[in-house]
């Protein structure tokens, strides 16, 4: 893995965009600080993380059992099940449901899985209009743009950019006032909710013992989607299961706090089957599409722990790489540290293989993960697997052998240090180098300064008795 062309290109573009960098840095820094504060209000967050990890691992270890229990309960409730092995199967199932009920207009609540399967494109190709109802997703849909964050999809757009989009696409005056923009969206969307016959949602968590799907949202769109249209399709990855409602409580306590520093999101929504006799509203037909699309392979493989992920985005907000380049640089649907694992393992972007290398392995993501996914360790394993699968460039092992040879002898090591210092000191200003010579040029080209080597080495200082 010598060249990382596409990730590098996208990252370079992102780094050159000052407006984007500021928006992302501001949003992620705030969100990460709030997440830490929210964790502190739990009686023992480390113990709770451990429990959440155990719950997820136990579920994954026995997933066939819990999946079957969930399916049995859904059938008892009168919910139709669709099993989809691939993204295409999943989309085809939704299109078939839409056709069965003659639905031409759909409303949709935010779902990363439907981004993964490109459901909107499949629906439009089938002549079904679909409107994203999450405000951020709605903005992106208007602009034909993609989400760049798991919980805050339009984080790469600042207020002016949002106002421009509204003015251009909805034919309203340009107003850089979030309240006015939300009022416009509320009015526009009400008619859509009311006239739609099909609602599409994701699933945050599926409870095996009761056949319940759980949705967490803040805007009210999830409740609206499942209230007015007569058909509700929920699409879920097969790893979303938890055994019991009590387990769901544990996951929810961590999810809200980790994602948005809320003890609970505004709407924490439990749906157990379709509308029942005597009820005035709610979908009368409910369908659940359970999607594999690579997940059973992950379950069988050595990266199983990534399936613990609850998509809270805490690892994005803390990641020095994400904070610098934002979500689009990752290419795939899932950005940030978890995306470096999920994208190569799931659908994959053209250069997915390069993603595990776009990490400093600093470990911050592991510390922020509510279900304790050891992302750095998994990234190392993924790099190792890649190296075993195919030969890298021949100079790389040679270079490493040469470096080992230098480092093994104190004399050679000191000599090397001296040469490097001679080479680099003249280029530094204020102890930083902003343009390094090859082979270090790549570091500074990516808009990073390199710390200059100190004037004297530790050994020299020691010899002079100054340490």
């Amino acid at each position: 893995m010598t060249v990382l062309p596409t990730f590098r290109q996208r990252a370079a573009e992102a780094l050159a965009d000052q407006r984007l960098r500021l928006a992302i840095l501001d949003a992620t820094t705030q969100r990460d600080a709030k997440r830490r504060a929210a964790w502190r209000d739990l009686p023992d967050v480390q113990a709770l993380r451990l429990l959440a990890r155990q719950i997820k691992d136990h579920t994954l270890d026995n997933l066939d059992h819990y999946l079957n229990q969930f399916i049995d309960n859904l059938r008892r409730l009168g919910v139709e099940i669709h099993l989809a092995s691939s993204a295409d199967d999943a989309n085809a199932a939704v299109v078939a449901i839409a056709r069965q009920f003659h639905c031409t207009d759909a409303v949709k609540a935010k779902s990363m899985l439907t981004e993964e399967t490109h459901l909107n494109r499949a629906l439009l190709d089938a002549g079904i209009n679909v409107v994203e109802t999450d405000l951020g997703e709605f903005l992106l849909q208007l602009d034909d743009d993609r989400p760049s964050h798991l919980t805050c999809p339009a984080v790469h757009k600042d207020l002016d950019a949002c106002a421009e989009t509204f003015a251009r696409k909805l034919d309203v005056p340009f107003v850089a006032d979030p309240h006015a923009l939300v009022a416009i969206a509320r009015k526009t969307m009400r008619d859509k909710f009311r006239s739609a016959t099909l609602a599409i949602t994701g699933v945050n968590c599926a409870v095996a013992e009761s056949g319940t799907i759980v949705l967490v949202m803040n805007e009210g769109n999830g409740r609206f989607c499942t209230l007015a249209p007569r058909v509700h399709v929920a699409m879920m990855g097969l790893e979303k299961i938890v055994p019991s409602l009590a387990d769901a409580a544990v996951m929810l306590k961590l999810l809200g706090r980790s994602a948005t520093a809320q003890r609970l999101t505004v709407d924490t929504h439990f749906i157990t089957g379709p509308r029942r006799d005597g009820e005035l509203d709610g979908a009368s037909h409910m369908h659940v599409v359970i999607v594999d699309a690579g997940r059973s392979d992950i379950l069988a493989g050595t990266h199983r722990h990534v399936l613990r992920c609850i998509r809270c985005a805490a690892c994005l907000n803390i990641c020095p790489v994400y904070r610098s380049v934002g979500g689009h640089a990752y290419g795939g649907v899932y950005p940030g540290p978890i995306g470096k694992l999920l994208t190569p393992l799931l659908a994959g972007a053209p250069d997915a293989e390069t993603l595990p290398h776009a990490s400093t392995l600093c470990g911050a993501c592991y510390e922020a993960c509510p279900v304790m996914i050891d992302i750095p360790q998994l990234l190392i394993e993924m790099r190792r697997d890649q190296a075993a699968r195919r030969r890298g460039p021949r100079w790389k092992p040679r270079l490493i052998r040469w470096a080992m040879w230098l480092a093994r002898s104190p004399r050679r090591f000191v000599l090397t240090q001296r040469i490097v210092r001679r080479l680099l000191r003249p280029r530094s200003a204020d102890e930083w180098i902003s343009r390094a010579p090859p082979p270090l040029a790549g570091w500074t080209r990516a808009q990073r300064d390199l710390p200059a080597p100190p004037p004297k080495s530790f050994r020299q200082l020691w010899k002079e008795g100054r340490i």
Binding site: A93, E219, P274, G282, S296
Partner: protein, 212 residues
């Protein structure tokens, strides 16, 4: 009535192969000391403080003065068209006599109403959360469509923790929908600025009914 399973059952076989567990280990035990947030004060005090912290208004009242409390809140929004939840009005007939209020609106009235007066199935003190189970006489829309809602919460239904709220029903007897409402509908998707009243209610008043 069990529906057929559509699609390829091979998916389930693949999962079974991948898990490959023959003896199911017991699921991890829940130590409630690490799950529950300790609450030292009376539940009603904690509930009120938390609900206010997430942007809802809370007042305490009694059954006898409930109507007065509702009317004074209603005056602040000029007695606009109001939806009154049938189940809530069932044993409070005065609620049905409020001017410009409906228990059985048509679709246009439903979408035009500015205020919803609804009940709560329970409250969660830890988070200041309103718990609403759907059912006959308790339409989901009444607590969602109007910009302002008044929620009547019986103090005796207050629970300490989310954990308790999810243990109210047996797993095979859950209502078709339970929604936990923690604050007004909100978003900060636009320029990281917090705005309330996106698709759901922007103003939530809670009236806690205590014994006189």
């Amino acid at each position: 009535m069990a529906h057929p399973i559509h699609g390829n059952r091979r998916l389930l076989d693949r999962v079974a192969e991948a898990t490959n567990q023959r003896n199911m280990a017991p699921s991890p035990a829940h130590d409630e000391n690490i799950i529950r947030t300790p609450i030292d004060e009376p539940l009603i005090d904690r509930f009120a403080a938390e609900a206010q912290a997430v942007g809802m208004s809370v007042s305490r009242t009694t059954e006898a003065s409930l109507i007065d409390a509702i009317q004074s809140l209603r005056r602040t929004i000029n007695d606009e068209l109001t939806l009154v939840e049938p189940a809530l009005a069932a044993h409070r007939p005065e609620l049905k006599t409020l001017p410009r209020s409906l228990t059985h609106p048509d679709q246009d009235q439903l979408y035009a109403a500015e205020l919803g007066i609804v009940g709560a199935s329970a409250g969660i003190a830890e988070t200041g959360t309103i718990v609403r189970d759907a059912g006959p006489g308790r339409p989901r829309s009444f607590a969602l469509l109007p910009m302002t809602i008044i929620v009547v919460l019986d103090a005796s239904t207050l629970l300490p923790d989310l954990y308790d709220a999810l243990a109210r029903h047996r797993p095979n007897q859950l209502p078709s929908e339970t929604v936990l409402i923690t604050g007004p509908s909100k978003s900060s998707d636009i320029g990281m600025k917090l705005v309330t009243g996106v698709h759901g209610p922007g103003v939530v008043h809670i009236l806690i009914v205590q014994d006189a």
